[in-house]
């Protein structure tokens, strides 16, 4: 009998987790659903959870987070784009909002949404072992020029933003690295560099942080316009004379046709959240960049990003029209 009661209680608890109330009214009169296209515990998930916890204070309504991982965000993008455009279903992106449509994964990109805010970017970066022979990016690139295809660099799978950042450097400087794919995304790269298995790795500062903090690896160049706040000593590529910028930015999206005043209300809440102390602390500790671009600034960025990724994907031979 006791056992029965325990199991019944467990089931009731689980049922409670899935219960979602539904009432109509002026925005926001009921909880907002926020769809994350990545698994619980991943980078997009953690950033979004911290952001939403702050945003709901300013929105005046709870934000219910639902993880719908699949195809690096593709599944969630489709679901958000098809949701009722009332602001009650929103979600987040990464750079894949621009790559998916040029690789034939899904036929939609940012133009199928109302962009609420761009709240974060994790730029690319090139890292080497602490005692590596290259002092800076210049020495590294010049060495690669002398020995094409010999310097090994760990990066993610073809078509990933990480890989494209490295290939951008290759194309701009007309050099060739020996790129080693990493199945687990870019996260394995820093360990491989620290263990001496590859010469370098392409990874966002947020990924390289723990081994950088441990003094095992050092940065050659970060692919952002300005230095990342959490890495004051890590030089950008630009300040070393290399015009290589690669962002992997995150936006909050609402379905196309969501009323302007609703998008504005959401922007105000998310902007306040991105500027909150909690979010700042979290992002700095993990080594991420905070942004607070509004709809116009975000659309401008995304249009540029589309052009950059389209050209890059054509150059590396991965461009494919979506059906």
């Amino acid at each position: 009998m006791k056992l029965k009661a325990i199991f019944l209680a467990a089931i009731l608890c689980l049922v409670g987790v899935f219960a979602v109330p539904a009432v109509a009214g002026e925005f926001p009169e009921r909880p907002v659903t926020y769809i994350i296209g990545w698994a619980t515990g991943g980078g997009s998930d953690l950033v979004s959870r911290v952001l939403c916890a702050e945003a709901e204070k300013h929105l005046g309504q709870p934000i219910v987070i639902v993880n719908k991982p699949g195809g690096s965000g593709a599944k969630a993008y489709v679901e958000i784009s098809q949701a009722k455009p009332d602001g009650y279903t929103i979600g987040n992106t990464t750079g894949t909002i621009s790559t998916h449509k040029f690789m034939g994964v899904i036929p939609i990109g940012h133009e199928a949404f109302e962009v609420v805010i761009t709240f974060n970017s994790d730029p690319g970066g090139l890292w080497v072992k602490k005692d590596a022979p290259w002092k800076d990016l210049k020495e590294f690139v010049e060495d690669a020029r002398k020995r094409p295809g010999e310097i090994t660099v760990a990066a993610s799978n073809p078509g990933s933003i990480t890989r494209l950042g490295l290939q951008l450097l290759e194309l701009k400087e007309n050099v060739k690295f020996k790129i080693a794919s990493q199945s687990g995304g870019e996260s394995a790269g820093p360990s491989l560099v620290a263990g001496g298995h590859v010469d370098a790795c392409q990874a966002a500062p947020v990924t390289a942080k723990s081994l950088y903090d441990a003094g095992e690896i050092r940065p050659l160049g970060i692919m952002s316009e300005t230095r990342v706040e959490a890495f004051p000593d890590a030089p950008t590529c630009m300040e070393q004379g290399y015009d290589v910028v690669m962002h992997n930015a995150r936006q909050v999206l609402a379905p196309k046709g969501t009323p302007k005043e609703v998008v504005d209300k959401l922007y105000a809440a998310f902007k306040a959240a991105a500027e909150s102390e909690t979010f700042k602390k979290f992002m700095n500790e993990s080594g991420s960049m905070i942004l607070t671009w509004n709809r116009e600034e975000s659309t401008e960025f995304l249009t540029k990003q589309d052009a950059q990724f389209k050209e890059l994907l054509q150059q590396v031979g991965l461009y494919k029209e979506a059906k």
Partner: protein
């Protein structure tokens, strides 16, 4: 400093309650036939998403520890191993219970498990930091051969038929190829489905193959089990029993730790080897199987010692040494904690908390084991028509909650039905799961090695050579044993 912080973290009411609660749940899960440690942990995993990492992990560790031990109850009382690691326990535990010494058998299992578990955790604390430093030397080439080693280990012990073991592992590897290929960006076996692009998630498969398949088989192949009415007497152990426990402790713990550390082995194999060792080194091997205390001690000490051992590759290399460890890996990753050398530098307090929590979990066994021996039979007497629908519902919820995906529920249902038939064919679900986990590890690391420097390091790196030798030993040992056995028979 991290130890002090860990002690402060563990010795709070909430943490102690979670560990003791987890191990109590684990014992129930382990004791109920058909519910395994893996299944219990897979079902609890989504709940840990909403807990701080240390709380979630320690609850799961308590559950794991409890479940490995819990199987001893049903093995001793009903001659049904509640979980795979207690198969060997039933060989002597049941005869002892038949003699009216069920209480003594349970107490022997409890004390053996607790001491073995503590030995395992001590080994983990001493060996893990060394392995952690060593772990950075593991590159794609080393992981490739490690995957081969893991695969060979499970193939060598996949039940009665080696061919069926191969079939199970192959099926698992085949399933693991579904999804986006990381090296060429080609979708494999996805049939245009976005859901399948990220591959087949192993957790719904685990829930289906273990949980639902068991429910189906219980429904279709139900046999009436009598309620235990025999009195459980002699709960206290004699001085002689304690001498036997101490005598068996060292070899059984060592075997448990070493086998536990090996990916793909785990408690079941540890207890089989330990039982064999105890039998072969005994002066009266013929007494084994008739209710001898040494048999129970050897099996139970080894399978609980393997829990600490299994944590070593998980925490230092990110390699799950067993299905339960694979679930712990998932629980860590959910909280953005990547097991491996990094975890020791980035999360020293969490690592110490895991060590201290595991020790506490061993002591919780002592309390629950000796305290519940009298009421244990009544847990097993819960009617099937009540239990089976509850388990089926939990399977569906567990599969859905992971990704809020009905597609995963579908994967779970298909796995459950397939698992039932595969079980009937003698293909163990564990072989499929290991193929599913180790397949991509082998493929991705091999291709990565070739991309970096060609295939040579797989055969020339010192670590790889050692792993190849161990793999060869793993395959040749059972054959040599069989030949020796045949020679004995012919003489």
């Amino acid at each position: 400093m991290s130890l002090l912080a860990a002690l402060q973290a563990v010795f709070t009411f909430k943490m102690i309650a979670l560990i003791f609660g987890g191990s109590a749940l684990g014992i129930i899960v382990g004791a109920l036939p058909g519910l395994s440690a893996t299944m219990g942990m897979a079902l609890m995993l989504p709940i840990t998403f909403y807990m701080p990492p240390s709380e979630g992990i320690l609850m799961l560790l308590g559950l794991y520890t409890g479940a490995v031990f819990g199987g001893a109850y049903s093995a001793i009382l009903l001659n049904i191993p509640g979980a795979p690691p207690s198969v060997m326990t039933s060989l002597d535990g049941y005869p002892m219970a038949q003699k009216g010494e069920a209480g003594r058998a349970i107490s022997l299992a409890t004390v053996g498990s607790t001491l073995g578990g503590i030995a395992g955790v001590i080994a983990l604390i001493i060996i893990a930091p060394i392995l952690a430093k060593f772990a950075l030397r593991f590159g794609p080439a080393e992981y490739t051969v490690l995957a081969v080693f893991g695969l060979s280990a499970i193939v060598a012990v996949s039940g009665k038929s080696l061919a069926k073991g191969f079939a199970g592992v192959t099926l698992g590897v085949l399933l693991s190829t579904v999804g986006m290929d990381n090296f060429t960006n080609v979708s494999r076996f996805t049939f245009g489905s976005i859901e399948l692009m990220s591959g087949i998630n192993f957790i719904p498969v685990v829930i289906g193959l273990f949980g639902l398949a068991e429910v189906i088989s219980q429904i279709l192949e139900s046999t009436k089990e009598g309620i235990i009415t025999k009195a459980i007497n002699r709960l206290l152990l004699s001085a002689g029993d304690f001498r036997l426990i101490l005598k068996g402790l060292i070899p059984a713990s060592l075997i448990g730790i070493v086998i536990g550390v090996l990916p793909g082995a785990g408690g079941t194999i540890a207890s089989i080897i330990s039982y064999n060792h105890a039998m072969q080194s005994s002066k009266e091997p013929e007494k084994f199987g008739t209710g001898t205390p040494e048999g129970i001690i050897a099996a139970e000490t080894a399978n609980n010692a393997s829990v600490g051992g299994a944590m070593v590759p998980l925490l230092t290399l990110g390699v799950p040494g067993s299905s339960p460890a694979a679930i712990l890996l998932g629980a860590l990753l959910i909280h953005n904690l990547r097991p491996g050398p990094m975890l020791f530098t980035t999360q020293p307090v969490l690592i110490s908390t895991i060590f201290v929590g595991l020790l506490v979990a061993q002591f919780s066994l002592l309390l629950w084991g000796l305290g519940t021996a009298r009421i244990a039979p009544w847990i097993l007497a819960v009617r099937k028509e009540v239990m089976l629908p509850v388990i089926a519902v939990l399977c569906v919820i567990g599969a859905f909650a992971l990704k809020n995906s009905f597609f995963d529920v579908g994967i779970m249902l298909v796995s459950g039905i397939a698992g039932f038939f595969l079980n009937k064919l003698g293909i163990k679900p564990g072989t499929i799961i290991l193929g599913l986990i180790l397949g991509p590890m082998f493929e991705n690391n091999l291709r990565s090695t070739i991309e970096i420097s060609g295939i040579a390091p797989v055969f020339t790196s010192p670590i790889c050579v050692v792993l190849w030798v161990l793999t060869a030993a793993m395959i040749l040992y059972p054959i040599c044993r069989m030949l020796r056995l045949k020679k004995c028979e012919s003489e």
